[in-house]
Amino acid sequence: MTTAVLRTLSMLYHLNPRWLYLAVTVVLIVPLMVTIPMPATKDSRGPKGVYDMVGSCPTDKVVLIESSWDQGSKPECMSQLECLVNDLCTRKKRFVVFSTGVYAPTFANEVIKPIAQKAGYVYGTDWVNLGFIKPPADNMGVLIQSFFTDIHATRPVDLDGTALTNLPLMRSVRTSKDVHMVFAVTYCPWQEWISFGKGQFGVPVAFGSAAIMGPYYYVFVDSGQLCGLFAGNRGAYEYESLTGIRGMGSKMMMAFAFGLCFIIAAVVLGNIGFWASMRLRRMQ
């Protein structure tokens, strides 16, 4: 290979990273503007487990959602909550939401309210938001034990301060026996749900987490301690493929695929540049 070619290739290694930042921005904007259909693996165990568990929810029980994400984890958790609530409303399943993050109830309401209104869900009858519940001394195990023993004693009012006894749905939801499954969605869901929620009370538990936490939680899906898992936007996208209701997960996933292809190309080109740079140095 000639010196001129090697010198050109070695420029890839010494490229100013700002060009990469600009390129990745352009690459990500395109799929956000133009809709391109992408294939999805519908039989992925994590989302399929949640889908099946939601489907088996009887009419006298509720799905309990712990939505504790806020601005910091919105890019991944919002799509997860959106696709689950979309499915719950489509399949007419009742649900109760609460948060262990102070800012989280507002974010959860922003996602749930439009979907519930569109589906004709009545607040207090079909769904309830209990708002923020602080785990005592930041110990989620204590909160789960207390919550699943007596929900009304643990949190006597909802987000707006209405007594639970005045909400028709909550009159029949009092202990873990009235909860069909738990779906905890946040950057890093409390693992106490697995040990106490599933281990002690026997309530099936599913998580929606950031992709970064996926490898840690997959082992619990494998052991059957989690009935399902959404790891990042991919989980939401696969769930949307199962339900057929396209939302934010699909939109994010397209840009995501473009971005990952760009990173792979950048890694390959960077390595070629590194190789050329080393070869050039040796020749000199």
Partner: protein, 227 residues
């Protein structure tokens, strides 16, 4: 929360934070300091409004107003152990903080112990996986053979990884050299998967911000062109 002004402030802050990719500048530092200050300020207000007031102060107030039973005023007594925590700051009164810390550590350890047992025992049980396809329903079908091979791979990965962390065995021992190397390879693959997922999370964060900015850009174009 989504008023035009707050949305445009959000866009400005996003651009200010991203501007550090070009060069450290005053806008980036301003956004950084503002985020810290606002975070602490909001945290203090929310902690009072969402935790201390409803769970503690409201009951005391109600007891004094005689809308709740007088015994709720006893919640004032929790100030005593609460203040004891702060005795850590004094060398003279440090001993006063030890009972309350001991109590909290004891409770937390007890619950953590129970939690770990309930978390880890099913994990141990799930390592017992079938390896013989003839023992499974339907016999040695393709799906069953694949299932057993997957289980075999899992067990090899499990044992070689555990072996890698057996520091009582010399790494240059001939019998263990290959399994230990396999263990290291498995760990590296797992760490690679974790790093890949880290990239995915960071990418999601960037996509969300770019989408937010592109929406603002569209609005701006509409305003300028009068569309």
């Amino acid at each position: 929360m989504n008023s035009p002004l707050t949305v445009w402030i959000g866009a400005f802050i996003t651009l200010a934070v991203l501007s550090c990719l070009i060069k450290d500048n005053i806008f980036y530092r301003l956004a950084q300091k503002a985020a810290m200050g606002i975070g602490v300020g909001i945290g203090v207000v929310l902690f009072w409004r969402e935790v201390l007031h409803p769970y503690w102060w409201a009951h005391i107030q109600a007891a004094f107003n005689r809308t709740e039973h007088w015994s709720n005023a006893l919640w004032l007594l929790v100030l005593v152990p609460g203040m004891m925590w702060y005795c850590q700051m004094s060398r003279k009164w440090f001993w006063l903080s030890t009972p309350v810390i001991g109590l909290f550590v004891g409770v937390a350890a007890g619950i953590a112990f129970k939690g770990q047992i309930l978390l880890m025992l099913p994990q141990l049980a799930s390592t017992l996986k079938p390896l013989n396809p003839w023992m499974l329903d339907g016999g040695p079908t393709r799906a069953n053979i694949e299932f057993c091979l997957n289980n075999l791979f899992f067990l090899v990965a499990l044992f070689t990884t555990l072996l890698y962390f057996c520091f009582t065995i010399k790494a240059d021992n001939r019998a263990f050299r290959v399994p230990m190397k396999t263990g290291r390879l498995v760990i590296m693959v797992a760490l690679g998967a974790m790093f890949g997922n880290t990239v995915m999370t960071r990418m999601s964060f960037l996509i969300e911000r770019i989408e937010f900015l592109s929406e603002r850009l569209k609005t701006l174009i509409h305003l300028v062109t009068g569309g």
